[in-house]
Amino acid sequence: MPVTRGFLGRRRGHEGRLPPGQYDTGAGWPVLTAEATPVVDTASWSLSVDGLVERPTTWSWDEIHQLPASTYVGDIHCVTAWSKFDVTFKGVSVDELLDAAGPLPDAAYVMVHSSTGYTTNLPLSDLVDGKAWVVWEYDGKPLSRQHGGPARLLVPHLYFWKSAKWVSRLELMAHDRPGFWERNGYHDRGDPWLEQRYQGD
């Protein structure tokens, strides 16, 4: 591909920490959403794990807070090319939720659903072993509505569209099925280090 005449590039540094094509957004945290930002109150909020599981389970806001809390400190990467370093989220590990629901042996993929109707698909292997969380705190404060509050999924090793805002349901499946952005041309897995942004990458 051609070198762009006169372009030297500015947002450098952090080599080894920025996946290819990403830049450090610094203190900013861009908001990208396809839909109107919903108002989800914690009184009616719930999260379900169902599909190919032994015990379909639903937690209320109070019940999910009874589970052992867990914190993520690290970086996040958005497909629109910003990365954000050293963010802190608090919530519960997806491992805890799966332990309660008991995935069946043929469960290999997960469709994540938001209360808005948004969906995103992941291999189950990307959600286990401490790689994913359902979070409700950012930087020590309740997660704001525009960033998916009261609770969102967090899968920091993949592009951030996988970290569904306003998460309401994890549906375990035997076969993969594309979610919302995946049907809109985005990659099925979305590994930032492999630059899996769009279909065909």
């Binding site: 591909m1 051609p2 070198v3 762009t4 005449r5 006169g6 372009f7 030297l8 590039g9 500015r10 947002r11 450098r12 290819p20 094509g21 830049y23 900013g28 945290w29 861009p30 908001v31 990208l32 959403t33 396809a34 839909e35 109107a36 930002t37 919903p38 629109t80 090319a81 808005t116 109707g117 948004y118 969906t119 525009q146 594309p178 919302f180 995946e182 049907r183 809109n184 041309g185 985005y186 769009y198 279909q199 065909g200």
Partner: protein
Amino acid sequence: MSESIDDVRALETTWTTGRIIEKDHPTPTTVRLRMHVEDRRRHRPGQHYLIRLRAPDDYTAQRSYSIASDEDDPLVEFLIERLPDGEVSEFLADVAEVGDVLEMRGPIGRWFTWDTTTPALCLVGGTGVVPAVAMARAARRLGRSSLLRVVAVGRSPEELAYAEELARAGATLAWTRTDTGERPAGPPTVDELTPLLTGTELAFVCGSARFAAFAEGLLLDCGVQPGAIRVERFGPSG
């Protein structure tokens, strides 16, 4: 009936190149690029391209830019706001010249698009007018201008690109900082928007994160169902 968030299809795209054929500055803080794109694909109004800049050492920077042009335009048109210290927008505004070749990928996005048949309203602000311009141009070509209503919000007539074209097409223009005599300065109100929503099934909101939050709230106040609102946010954020 318009499609739901659950049934839009994917389309593969790959990187290609585009040459800048025309460049101008419609307002003091924006640049318009009209480009010839190699192996160009058809687009729907509302879609965007990625533009990628490459330094001699292979460092790259890429950003998304909405398409302003209509399908039948031989060139693909972009309008980019020059953000102070913005890596890509400053380059495109200040350094890029006619004849330069840039890496491009698109069109991308199947959700924030108008199917040209569903009655819809665009509530857009600042550089967020770009997809509304593409939608209005498609509507005019197809003789379906009555299906699309555009409400464009800017600080003043001098600061909103495409203001005259949109006004000629029947858009409602609202200035937040300019009192026109007919309309006091300020954002659009429920009273202004409500009659324009009659018969529409979809609302497109595009602009900064702050504008989008305002616009969503206004539409909900007008009784629009959340599921009928599609949003695209541009630019810097907090």
